[in-house]
C-alpha cells in the first residue's frame, strides 16, 4: 500500500496510467467508501494490525483526535512498527509542501480547505479554527497505521501545522492571541504548549523587532497605564467579570430550574430576570434624577390620611405623593449647581426610553441573528431533536421523562414524515373554514372586549368628578375597570387555548404562533382602547389628568399582579390537583411558557406607559416581579412537569423579545411621545403646567441658552437638526437606502450559501470518487513494492500482480467477465479484438443480474462511459505530444478498460477454466503492449512502455473531456 505515498504517486506517468480506466466510472457512488473498511486486509497488514492491538491496546494510540502536537506525537511514538517495511528511510518527496494533492486518505479532504485558498480578508481566527479542524482530522479513519504515511512524515506534518499555528498566533495582538488559543479545540496541555511556544518565540522576536504592528495596542496600553502591567489589567477585568458573576441573581435557583425543567422553562425565568433588572435600572434613574431633587427642592407635605385602600387604588393618600406626575413642580434650585426639574423630568424619561429601546432592539437583533437567520426554515426535526439534548438537566427523574418525551417525539416526527400528509381539497377547505371561524371568533372577542372596556371607562368617568374628597365607596368604584381588564386577560386566553385544541394544525409551531398572535391582539386592543380613552377623554376633562392616568395604571399593575397569582393558582395548582386526584387522564400540567411570557410582556407594557405619568411605578413593578419569581418557582416545582416537547426554545425566545419590542415597547413609546409632543399638560399640577406641551421645555431652555456663547452649538443643533424637517427627511432616506443595500447583500448571501452548498456536494462526490479510485488501486496492488520496483512492475503490466496473488479479486473478476461473455464467444482464441468485444457485451449479459452485483454495476458504468464518449482521437495533445494514433494502442486501451473490472468484489465462480482464461487475458495484454510498442516506436520515446505512455496521455485527454461533460 505504501507505495502510493512514496514519490511514485507523483510520477505523472504512473499516476495517469493507474487512473487510466478507473476514471471512467461515474464518479458518484452513494455509499461510504472508506477505502480500508471493505477489503480484507492482506496478510502483512493483518499481522501489523494484530501488532497494534497487542502492543498498545485497541486503537488507543490511533485516536483520530490526538490532533495536538504533544499528544499526537506521543501517540505516534507508540506506533507499532512490527513488520513494517524498511523502504521509508529517505523522506518522501511529497512531504513538503504538504498542500498539493497529497494522499492522506480521507484526511486530505480537510486539507482541501487549506487557509491559503481563502482570501486574505479572512480573519486569523478563521484560519486558526480551520487549522484546529485539520489538526484533528489527521487520522479520520481511526487507525493511522493503515495509512501509508511514515512516522516521520506525520511528525513533520504535525510540526508544520503547529509552526503555522504559532506564526498565526504571533501575528495577533495579546487579546486576540488569548482568544485564539482559548478557541482551539485541544486539550489543556496542548493549549499550554502552543501558548508557551508563542510566548517563547514572541519574546525572542521582540528583542529583534521592538515595534511590531500587532504589539502596537499592547505597548499603547502599556504607555497609557504607566507602570501598571498588562497582567494586572487583565486581572482587573477578570475581577470585574467575577464580581458580575457573584452578583448574578438567583444563580442557584436558575440551575435548579434548568436542571429539572430544561432550558425552555428556564428561558421564562431569564426573561423575568431581565425585565426585573430593566425596572431596577429605571427606578434608579427616575429616583435619583427626578424624585430626589424634587424632594430636596421643595416638598409640600399634605394632610390626607392613609386609609389602606390606597394600596389597591393608588388614589387618596398616594395622589399627592411623588409617585405621580402631579406632585412634581416646576422650578429650579441653584445651590452648588443649577438644576431644572422640568428639564430633568423630560430628559430622564427620554433617556430611559431611548436606552430601553436600544437594549431591547439590540437583544432582539442579536437573537434574530442567532436563532432565525441561521436556522433552517424547513429542516427536518429528527436531527435537531438529537443534537439539542439538554446537558444541563441533572435531575434523574427529569432525565427519564425527557428521554421518554424525546422518544415519543421522534416517533411522531417519523410517522409524520412517512405519512406525508396530503389533504384532499375538501379537507383543506374544511380546515380553512375552521381556521377562519376561529380567527373570526377570537378577533371579535378581542374587539368586543375593547368595546366593553371603553364603555365601562366612560361610565366610570361620568361617575368620577374632580372632587377632592372621595368616600371609600367611591374610591372602590375605581377598581371596576382594572378588575374587568384583568379578568378579561385571564379568561379570554383560556378560550383561545380551547379553540386551539379543536383547530387542525399541520405543525405545532404554527399552533403556538396562532395562539400567541391572538393573545397579543387581545392584549394590545385592550391597552389601545385604554390609551385612546386616556388621551382623548381623560386628558380634556380633568384638571390633573396625568395623575389620574397614573392612578389608573397603578390599579392596572396591581390587579394584573393579583390575577397573575390567581392564574398560577388556577392554571397550575388546581389543574395539578384535578389531574392527579380526579381526572388522572389529564395528568400533571406543563408550565405554559408562552402564556406566562405574554403576561410578563403585558405587565412590562403597563410599566412603560406609566413611566411618564408615574415615575416611581417601577417600584411597584420590581416588587411584583420579585414576588412573581418566587411564586412561579414554587408553583413550577410543586405543580408542573417538564415540557413534553423539546426544541425551538431559542426561537420562541426570539419571538418573545420581538413582541416585547414591537407592540409593547413601540406602543408605549409612541404613547409617551404623543403625550409629550401633542397634549397640553394640565394647568393645575405637574412640572409642565405653564407650558403648551412637554416638549416645549426644550425650546424654552434653548431660548435661555441663546445668550450663552459656550452653548451656541447646542442651540445650533436644536434649530438645525431637531427642529428641521430636512434632517429627518435625510435620515429616513439614508436608513431606507442602507436597508435596501443590506437586503441586497442578504439576497446575495443566500445565493452564495446555495452555491457553497452545491460545492460541498460536489466535493463530496469528488471525495467518494477519489476514495474509490484509491481503493481500486489498492486492490490491484495488495502487496508492497519499494519505490524502485514500481516502474518495472508497471512495465511488465498488471498481469504479474495477478499471477502472484492467485486469490486476488482481479482473477476472479476476469473469470467472471469471461464467463459472462462465454455464451457469445466460447473458447475463441485470445485476441485483443475479441477481448474487447466480449467485454463490451458483458454489460448486456449482466443486465439481468441484481443491481447489488458490484461487478455488473462497474461494467455497466464502464459501458455507459463508453457510450457517452466514443473514442475519438484528439486533434492535438495538450502536452504537446504528437497526435494519438488509434490503431496501435487500441488493444491496449481496451485491455485497460477491462481492468475496470478489478473494482468489483470477488465474484464466486463455479470452478473450471480459470487458469486458461487468465493466461488468455495476460497474453492479450502483453500483445497489446507489444503492438503499442511496435505501432509507434519512432514517434514517441524509446522503449516498450511508449504505448503505455501514449495510453496515459490519451486517457488524460479523455478524462478532461469526460469531466467537461460531467
Amino acid at each position: 500500500m505504501s507505495h502510493y505515498s512514496d514519490g511514485s504517486f507523483y510520477n505523472p506517468a504512473y499516476h495517469d496510467s493507474e487512473t487510466l480506466e478507473l476514471d471512467r466510472r461515474p464518479p458518484f457512488k452513494p455509499r461510504h467508501s472508506n477505502p480500508y473498511a471493505q477489503d480484507p486486509p492482506p496478510p502483512w497488514q493483518a499481522a501489523r494490525a494484530s501488532a497494534v492491538s497487542t502492543v498498545t491496546g485497541p486503537r488507543a494510540n490511533a485516536d483520530p483526535w490526538e490532533g495536538g502536537a504533544g499528544r499526537g506525537l506521543r501517540a505516534l511514538g507508540a506506533l507499532p512498527l512490527g513488520p513494517r517495511p524498511s523502504q521509508h528511510q529517505d523522506p518522501p518527496p511529497w512531504q513538503r509542501p504538504p498542500h498539493h494533492s497529497s494522499v492522506h486518505g480521507g484526511g486530505s479532504y480537510h486539507d482541501a480547505a487549506a487557509p491559503s485558498r481563502f482570501p486574505a480578508t479572512f480573519s486569523a481566527n478563521m484560519t486558526m479554527r480551520l487549522r484546529g479542524m485539520r489538526r484533528m482530522s489527521m487520522f479520520p479513519n481511526g487507525d493511522p497505521s493503515h495509512l501509508s504515511i511514515t512516522e516521520g512524515a506525520i511528525r513533520n506534518e504535525l510540526e508544520y501545522e503547529e509552526q503555522n499555528l504559532v506564526k498565526e498566533l504571533m501575528a495577533c495582538s495579546t487579546k486576540e492571541r488569548i482568544e485564539g488559543i482559548r478557541k482551539l479545540p485541544m486539550t489543556y496541555h496542548e493549549k499550554k504548549h502552543i501558548r508557551n511556544r508563542v510566548l517563547a518565540s514572541k519574546s525572542s522576536k521582540k528583542s529583534r523587532h521592538l515595534s511590531c504592528l500587532a504589539d502596537c495596542s499592547e505597548s499603547m496600553s502599556l504607555i497609557l497605564t504607566g507602570g501598571m502591567s498588562l497582567q494586572s489589567l487583565r486581572r482587573c477585568a477578570s475581577g470585574v467579570a467575577a464580581a458580575r458573576q457573584a452578583l448574578d441573581l438567583w444563580q442557584g435557583t436558575m440551575k435548579e430550574v434548568g436542571g429539572s425543567f430544561g432550558s425552555s422553562v428556564l428561558s421564562y425565568f431569564l426573561f423575568l430576570k431581565s425585565l426585573l433588572l430593566l425596572n431596577v435600572f429605571s427606578f434608579v434613574v427616575n429616583f435619583s434624577f427626578i424624585t430626589v431633587p424634587m424632594l430636596a427642592y421643595d416638598h409640600v407635605p399634605h394632610n390626607v390620611t392613609f386609609r389602606g385602600l390606597e394600596l389597591l387604588t393608588g388614589a387618596g393618600y398616594f395622589r399627592y405623593t411623588v409617585l405621580y406626575y402631579g406632585a412634581y413642580r416646576a422650578g429650579s434650585f441653584t445651590g452648588l449647581l443649577h438644576y431644572n426639574i422640568q428639564l430633568a423630568y423630560f430628559f430622564t424619561i427620554a433617556a430611559y426610553m431611548v436606552l430601553c429601546g436600544a437594549a431591547v432592539l439590540y437583544s432582539m437583533a442579536s437573537s434574530f441573528k442567532m436563532n432565525y437567520v441561521l436556522s433552517d426554515p424547513v429542516g427536518g426535526g429528527s436531527w435537531q431533536l438529537l443534537c439539542t439534548w439538554d446537558f444541563s438537566v441533572t435531575n434523574e427523574k427529569a432525565v427519564r421523562q425527557r428521554k421518554n418525551n424525546l422518544r415519543i417525539q421522534l416517533k411522531e416526527s417519523m410517522s409524520e414524515r412517512s405519512q406525508g400528509t396530503r389533504l384532499t381539497p375538501a379537507e383543506k377547505l374544511r380546515h380553512f373554514g375552521i381556521h377562519l371561524g376561529a380567527w373570526f371568533v377570537s378577533t371579535s372577542m378581542a374587539v368586543g372586549c375593547g368595546n366593553a372596556i371603553y364603555y365601562l371607562s366612560q361610565y366610570e368617568q361620568q361617575q368620577a368628578t374632580n372632587a377632592e374628597d372621595w368616600s371609600l365607596a367611591r374610591e372602590a368604584e375605581t377598581l371596576l375597570v382594572p378588575f374587568v381588564v384583568s379578568l378579561i386577560n385571564l379568561v379570554v386566553p383560556l378560550f383561545y387555548s380551547l379553540f386551539n385544541k379543536f383547530e387542525p394544525y399541520s405543525s405545532q409551531r404554527r399552533q403556538i404562533y396562532a395562539l400567541i398572535l391572538r393573545n397579543v391582539i387581545l392584549k394590545m386592543s385592550i391597552l389601545g382602547i385604554l390609551c385612546y380613552f386616556w388621551v382623548h377623554e381623560v386628558a380634556h376633562k380633568f384638571s390633573c389628568w396625568e395623575s389620574r392616568v397614573g392612578q389608573a395604571l397603578y390599579r392596572l399593575v396591581v390587579f394584573d399582579f393579583f390575577f397573575m397569582m390567581l392564574g398560577s393558582f388556577f392554571g397550575e395548582f388546581l389543574s395539578k390537583v384535578i389531574g392527579t386526584r380526579w381526572i388522572p387522564g389529564l395528568g400533571v400540567p406543563e408550565f405554559d411558557v408562552a402564556r406566562n411570557v405574554l403576561d410578563l410582556i403585558y405587565a412590562q407594557t403597563l410599566a412603560w406607559i406609566g413611566i411618564y405619568f408615574s415615575p416611581l411605578l417601577p417600584v411597584l413593578q420590581i416588587i411584583k416581579f420579585l414576588v412573581l419569581f418566587y411564586l412561579k418557582k414554587v408553583s413550577l416545582i410543586q405543580n408542573c412537569q417538564p415540557p413534553r416537547r423539546v426544541g425551538r426554545a431559542a426561537q420562541m425566545k426570539t419571538i418573545f423579545i420581538a413582541l416585547l419590542f414591537f407592540p409593547s415597547f413601540v406602543g408605549s413609546l409612541s404613547l409617551v411621545a404623543y403625550t409629550s409632543w401633542s397634549l397640553t399638560p394640565s394647568r393645575l399640577c405637574g412640572p409642565f403646567k405653564d407650558l403648551d406641551s412637554t416638549f416645549s421645555v426644550v425650546g424654552v431652555w434653548m431660548t435661555s441658552l441663546e445668550g450663552v456663547p459656550a452653548a451656541a452649538w447646542a442651540v445650533w443643533v436644536y434649530v438645525n437638526v431637531v427642529r428641521s424637517e430636512i434632517f429627518y427627511f435625510l435620515v429616513t432616506i439614508i436608513i431606507l437606502f442602507i436597508t435596501f443595500v443590506f437586503w441586497q447583500v442578504t439576497q446575495g448571501r443566500k445565493l452564495l450559501i446555495l452555491l457553497l452548498r452545491q460545492q460541498i456536494v460536489n466535493e463530496g462526490k469528488d471525495k467518494t470518487f477519489l476514495l474509490d479510485k484509491l481503493q481500486a488501486l489498492q486492490k490491484s496492488h495488495p502487496t508492497q513494492h519499494p519505490k524502485s520496483k514500481i516502474k518495472k512492475q508497471r512495465r511488465s503490466g498488471g498481469s504479474s500482480t495477478g499471477v502472484r496473488s492467485s486469490s486476488n479479486a482481479m482473477v476472479q473478476t476476469f473469470l467472471s467477465v469471461e464467463q459472462g461473455s462465454r455464451g457469445a464467444h466460447p473458447r475463441e482464441p485470445p485476441s485483443p479484438s475479441h477481448l474487447s468485444i466480449s467485454f463490451q457485451r458483458t454489460p448486456f449479459a449482466s443486465e439481468g443480474q441484481p443491481p447489488s452485483d458490484a461487478l455488473g454495476l462497474t461494467l455497466r458504468a464502464g459501458q455507459r462511459a463508453e457510450v457517452h464518449q466514443p473514442w475519438t482521437p484528439p486533434a492535438s495533445d495538450p502536452l504537446g505530444h504528437p497526435p494519438w494514433t488509434p490503431p496501435s494502442a487500441d488493444p491496449l486501451v481496451r485491455v485497460m478498460r477491462a481492468r475496470d473490472a478489478y473494482d468489483g468484489p470477488p465474484v464466486p465462480l463455479d470452478g473450471g477454466t480459470s487458469s486458461g482464461v487468465m493466461m488468455q487475458v495476460m497474453e492479450a495484454r502483453s500483445r497489446a503492449e507489444g503492438g503499442g510498442g511496435r505501432g509507434a516506436p519512432e514517434r514517441i520515446g524509446p522503449g516498450s512502455s511508449s504505448a503505455l505512455i501514449q495510453a496515459m496521455l490519451a486517457r488524460q485527454q479523455a478524462q478532461n473531456e469526460y469531466d467537461d461533460g460531467y
Binding site: 452513494p30 461510504h32 467508501s33 491496546g57 485516536d63 483520530p64 483526535w65 479554527r129 484546529g132 479542524m133 484533528m136 482530522s137 487520522f139 479520520p140 481511526g142 488559543i181 482559548r182 478557541k183 479545540p185 486539550t187 489543556y188 499550554k192 501558548r195 497582567q231 477578570s238 467579570a241 467575577a242 458573576q245 432550558s263 428561558s267 436563532n371 441561521l374 436556522s375 429542516g379 427536518g380 429528527s382 436531527w383 435537531q384 443534537c387 439539542t388 439534548w389 446537558f391 444541563s392 438537566v393 441533572t394 434523574e396 432525565v399 427519564r400 428521554k403 424525546l406 422518544r407 417519523m414 414524515r417 412517512s418 425551538r648 460541498i760 456536494v761 466535493e763 471525495k767 467518494t768
Partner: protein, 188 residues
C-alpha cells in the same frame, strides 16, 4: 475558599483563566469539587487523576446519558479513564456559558462519535439515539424505526452523501439548531 486558592497558586490560576473559558470563581469551585473526588493517597501525587467512577458521581453528570462518553473524550490518559484537574477544567470550559459554538460543537461531535473514528456513521447514530431514548428494550426504538430515523438524519445532514456525518456537516447542523448552545451546558 481561601485554602483552595492557596492550593492553586496565583500564577497557575491566571494560567487556567487564560486558557479556559472559566472565571476565577468557577475555577476555584471546580478545584474544590475536584479535590473532593480524589482519594487520600491520590492527593499526594504530582498530577492526581480522579477515577471515572468518582467523576460520574458528580450530580451534574450522574444522570447524564452521555456521562461515560464525556469522561472518555476529555480524558488525556492512555487508557481513557479518569480526569486530571486540567482535563476537568477542559470539560467545564467546553460546557461553560462563554465557550464558543465551535468548541461546543467540536466536543459534542466527539462525544457522539462513539467509536472515535472521526465520523458519525450509522452505528454511532444508533448508539446516540439509544442513549437519548433509553437503553432498555421497552424504551428502545424498533429496528425499523431506527433505520428510518437514521436515514432521515443522514438525508438531512449528510451533505456530501458519503453515508456518514463528518465534523463540518455536524457543525452545519448545529449552526442551524439554535437551541444547541443553550442546552450544551453543564454548570457546577
Amino acid at each position: 475558599m481561601g485554602a483552595t486558592a492557596s492550593h492553586l497558586g496565583k500564577d497557575l490560576l491566571s494560567e487556567y483563566q487564560e486558557l479556559t473559558f472559566l472565571t476565577k470563581q468557577e475555577i476555584l469551585l471546580a478545584h474544590k469539587r475536584f479535590t473532593e473526588l480524589l482519594s487520600r493517597e491520590d492527593k499526594n501525587l504530582p498530577e492526581p487523576r480522579a477515577p471515572t467512577e468518582a467523576i460520574l458521581t458528580l450530580p451534574e453528570l450522574k444522570s447524564n446519558p452521555f456521562r461515560e462518553r464525556i469522561v472518555r473524550v476529555f480524558s488525556t490518559s492512555e487508557s481513557r479513564d479518569g480526569l486530571t484537574f486540567e482535563d476537568f477544567l477542559d470539560l467545564l470550559s467546553a460546557f461553560s456559558d462563554s465557550a464558543t459554538l465551535e468548541i461546543k460543537s467540536h466536543y459534542a461531535f466527539r462525544i457522539f462519535d462513539f467509536d472515535d473514528d472521526g465520523t458519525l456513521d450509522e452505528n454511532d447514530l444508533e448508539k446516540l439515539v439509544n442513549c437519548l431514548t433509553g437503553e432498555t428494550d421497552d424504551t428502545r426504538l424498533t429496528p425499523d424505526e431506527m433505520k428510518q430515523l437514521i436515514s432521515n438524519i443522514l438525508e438531512e445532514s449528510d451533505i456530501d452523501k458519503d453515508g456518514t456525518v463528518n465534523l463540518s456537516e455536524f457543525q452545519h447542523v448545529i449552526s442551524r439548531s439554535p437551541d444547541f448552545v443553550s442546552s450544551f451546558k453543564i454548570v457546577l
